[in-house]
Amino acid sequence: MENVVITKESDARGSFCPGPLMELIRMVRDAEVGDVLAVISSDAGSQKDLPAWVAKAKHELLGQEDVDGAVKFIIKKTH
């Protein structure tokens, strides 16, 4: 992930399902095509929901990293 430049990052730790998903959708909507976005989430539901939404909306999940027990999802807006 070192060579990926994150355009915008949001720390949604402490927010409950479906909060982090809503945060991601807003970020994707407001971003430009090609932007790389990151959302950090600590809630259990989002661990599955965020990748599911990214697949459904046909964007690209570049990766996920552990951040102090939470997960940082890195997503590229593709269209």
Binding site: I25, K56, A57
Partner: protein
Amino acid sequence: MSEEKMSIVLFSGTVDKLMAASIIAVGASAMGKKVTVFLTFYGLMAFRKDDWKTNTKFSKDFEEMAEPAMAAMKEKNVPSWMSMLNDAAEVGDLTIKACGMTMDLFGMEMEHLEPIVEEVTGVGTFVQDAEGGQTMFI
């Protein structure tokens, strides 16, 4: 995204079930479904203007959970079910309709309802809206 549909008959007006219905509505909207929520009886009463701000009613069979659940939601900053529905309307295709029969029965007018309620319809329209999609009754 897809043209899949989810339709919810929201009959209940207790916070626990309003939360459940709102989370499903926001999740389905987020996943690209066209969501219709049809408010009837107690579900419609919960959408009277500003009622959600003071509604602490809970399902009778889990009444002892009302206080701890409301306290936990407040402590953990869980958004209200009304703000979740506003999120659903913002990110997706969500329409909230009021049951005409309930409106007539209790002498309610559109001006008495939260602005998120778009129109008054009958059950026939709801059935037509729901046709070919998933429907649930909460």
